[in-house]
């Protein structure tokens, strides 16, 4: 393959899409399809054993957490720690991935995407629509992907500025603190109701499921488990609230590092109107960012630290992303594409700057095509 011609600046720009010719994009798509096929064919007992092990760990953590609240004073902190870990594992490595259908191949009702629900106030049924369908199909298309700013933040210069966005950092802080509630209310598309694109009546069918889930979660964490600890009710109540908060903060941070660090591309509805499968793959690669870190870090992020691989192969078990990453990186290098990755603090700082920058009018234009001055990658491919 002639790599030299891939990012030849002399070639007419109008024939290229994000730096690649149509033929290159088709080839890229075919390579990724092959990769996907290979992992699909290899799925089996190891993936099942891994998931069951994570679930067993999570259940034990949860039970330990609930039990440690019976130990006054000395038990409280370990209880909160166990419960926080339990909720993070439940939501990320288990819930998010199972509800993506990654483990549907097992035929086990306990891990079936249509039956599973997670330990948050957001009903899985509603999340799957906005996440699996809307976000994963229209990733980073401004105006279509509702995860660009979650309808409350300005995260892209293509989003028209309004004085409301002066509060960007505050909204982000509130969203972080109440993240599970934000995720739950996300499906009500409040911003589309404000803009007149959606009618309030459209939300009616969502309310019963949402209220049922909120009620069950609240009764469990804020009434029954505290009540079961008798006189320790206030401590248990507070502990459960803190565990939910810890999970909220962690999940928010991981998820914001997925699409908002500097250098991640956004797309317009026009340029993606007639997308090929290769172009869809390309958009997923350019529109996502990874986090480097230890195995523990990958586990606790539900392997969303491999957001690029997750967006390329959302229905492959997330534990396969690290092995896929090696080849995806190599493909990026060969096609001269950026592979946006960095340590957690680097990516977070980058996201923080963006949240602050876009609270004000303007902002840099969309990331220029690959090879241009705007293409930022914090990854050193030589590393």
């Amino acid at each position: 393959m002639s790599i030299d011609t891939l990012s030849d600046p002399a070639a007419p720009a109008d024939e290229k899409y994000h730096g690649l010719t149509a033929e290159q994009i088709d080839r890229l798509g075919a390579e990724l399809d092959t990769l996907r096929q290979r992992v699909l064919a290899d799925l089996g007992e190891e993936d099942a054993a891994y998931l069951r092990k994570v679930v067993t760990t999570q259940r034990k953590m949860e039970i330990a957490g609930r039990a440690l609240f019976y130990l006054p004073v000395v038990g409280w902190l370990p209880a909160v720690a166990c419960l926080s870990v339990s909720k993070i594992l439940d939501n990320m490595e288990i819930g998010h991935n199972v509800m993506h259908g990654q483990y549907d191949f097992l035929g086990d009702p306990a891990f079936n995407s249509r039956m599973f629900d997670w330990d948050t106030v957001c009903p899985g049924e509603q999340w799957k629509y906005s996440h699996n369908y809307i976000h994963h199909t229209f990733t980073n298309i401004v105006g279509k992907d509702r995860d660009v700013g979650y309808g409350i933040l300005r995260m892209d210069p293509e989003q028209k500025w309004h004085p409301y966005y002066l509060g960007n950092p505050l909204y982000a802080f509130l969203l972080m603190t109440f993240f599970e509630w934000g995720v739950a209310l996300h499906d009500l598309e409040v911003e589309n109701i404000v803009s007149g694109k959606r009618k309030l009546a459209d939300n009616k069918p969502l309310y019963p499921g949402l209220m049922r889930k909120i009620r069950r979660q609240a009764v469990k964490d804020y009434l029954l488990f505290p009540a079961l600890t008798g006189p320790l009710f206030p401590l248990t109540f507070a502990g459960n609230a803190v565990a939910n908060l810890v999970r909220n903060v962690w999940a928010f941070n991981i998820i914001f590092c997925g699409h908002f660090p500097a250098g991640v591309a956004s797309f317009s509805e026009e340029e993606t109107a007639d997308e090929t499968r290769g172009q869809w793959y390309l958009r997923q690669m350019l529109g996502s960012a990874n986090i480097t870190g230890s195995r523990l870090m990958h586990l606790m992020s539900g392997n969303l630290s491999h957001q690029i691989e997750h967006h390329l192969f959302p229905d492959l078990p997330a534990r396969r992303y690290p092995e896929l990453a090696v080849e995806v990186r190599e493909i990026c290098q060969r096609y001269g594409l950026p592979y946006n990755t960095g340590r957690l603090h680097q990516q977070l700082w980058s996201v923080f700057k963006k949240i602050c920058r876009y609270s004000l009018p303007g902002g840099e234009a969309k990331v220029a095509p690959v090879g241009g001055p705007g293409a930022v990658t914090e990854d050193s491919l030589a590393a």
Partner: protein, 396 residues
């Protein structure tokens, strides 16, 4: 049964009745939300359950060893110790068995008839299974199931059951007509009658007419011989090989068979012949006698031959729930459904979001992304990236 008698739980499996009630309480459900109590229990001991049913294989008994030359498949009887959640079964019922086949980690679920006499809650029962050539699950269970192995179960189901019992005796005569492994539910019924002290005398005779390939392929042969021998009012008639069912013979055995409570279970050929015998005169519209009860397993959908290059795809796509059908066109099942005016849920239309997942109950399909074909029954498929590869039934 008196409420004071707690369900027997041989082998000490599962929690006792008090714990069981607690685990099934609303409080337990509220504490275990959203996953449910069973999702916690199973992590510690797969035989602990509040709602779901599982079982351990206690023993495997080989009934016949099969013969490749004659095409007869081996048969085995599995004795199962269910969890305390098993509600028992009525003679003639079947159960769904889920098992993870080695090498794939994928759970396959199939229905099997229970061969032991009616069971009480939590009580052991047996499945007698023939290893069909195309049946991955039956082959695996017959050839490779081992004591100690775990199976996932449903509760017993099916209405092909015995109405007669020693507690509520009628004066009816009973007739069982079975073929091949169709003997299993009838065996459960006869065993139940004899175990519970049914008296076949005084005009309440039981007639058991069974068709098998040959003596070497006959399951329960010794037991059937013992039943025939004993003074119990049960007549056993075994017919082998070319001895096909005939109305003439049935009339000789049971002259008023059309007015006799009859249970029929067997291969399609036998079922058709018996149905003809039980059909009323043409003048009355040929209605079947209401005394005839039949057990059907899922009708097999013929797998269309793989079309060679340039050859046309043949087959019929049936959307079972709506009743709509169309010739297989090679386009996605989602598109075929929409062309028929159906409005199934969908999302990405590219196979990533699982919004359009449906159950293919039977037939052959092809994944349009991978080209992979599959003809497993009861398979979840994403209809946006799946096309028919022959006849298929979709639950839509």
């Amino acid at each position: 049964m008196s409420a004071l008698i707690s369900p027997p739980a041989p082998g000490g499996s599962g929690p006792g009745p008090v714990v069981g009630r607690l685990l099934r309480s609303r409080l337990a459900a509220a504490l275990a939300t959203p996953h449910g109590v069973d999702r916690y229990l199973e992590r510690f001991n797969p035989m602990w359950a509040a709602h779901e049913v599982r079982a351990r294989v206690v023993s495997v008994h080989r009934e016949t060893s099969g013969d490749a030359a004659t095409g007869s498949a081996p048969v085995a009887t599995l004795t199962l110790q269910p969890t305390s959640t098993w509600r028992g079964h009525r003679a003639g019922q079947h159960v769904l068995v889920g098992v993870e086949l080695p090498g794939t980690a994928k759970r396959h679920t199939r229905a099997f008839s229970i061969s032991s006499a009616a069971s009480a809650p939590g009580e052991r029962f047996t499945l007698t299974i023939r290893a069909h050539d195309e049946g991955q699950v039956s082959s695996y269970l017959v050839r490779e199931a081992r004591p100690g192995q775990l199976l996932h179960l449903s509760q017993a189901q099916g209405a092909f059951t015995l109405i007669e019992s020693p507690a509520t005796p009628t004066i009816s005569r009973l007739l069982f007509i079975t073929g091949g492994s169709g003997i299993t539910p009838a065996m459960s019924m006869v065993r139940t009658l004899l175990r519970d002290g049914y008296d076949g005398h005084a005009g309440r005779k039981v007639t058991f007419l069974h068709f098998a390939r040959g003596p070497e392929d006959q399951i329960f042969a010794d037991e059937l011989a013992a039943i025939a021998e004993a003074d119990n009012g049960v007549d056993v008639h075994l017919r082998y090989g070319d001895q096909r069912f005939s109305e003439f013979e049935l009339r000789r055995l049971v002259p008023d068979y059309r007015d006799t409570d009859t249970w029929l279970c067997g291969p399609a050929g036998l079922v058709e012949l018996v149905k003809d015998a039980y059909a009323g005169p043409e003048s009355s519209g040929g209605a079947l006698s209401p005394r005839l009860r039949m057990e059907f397993f899922k009708p097999a959908v013929a797998r269309a031959a793989q079309p060679a290059d340039g050859e046309e795809l043949t087959g019929e796509v049936t959307f079972a729930r709506s009743g709509a059908s169309a010739p297989a066109s090679g386009t996605s099942l989602l598109q075929q459904a929409e062309e028929l005016g159906l409005k199934p849920d969908f999302g990405c239309r590219m196979g990533i979001c699982f919004s359009c997942t449906r159950t293919k109950t039977a037939g052959a399909v092809r994944n349009v992304l991978t080209g992979e074909e599959s003809s497993l029954p009861d398979e979840e498929i994403r209809i946006c990236v799946t096309a028919a590869a022959g006849d298929c039934h979709i639950d839509l």
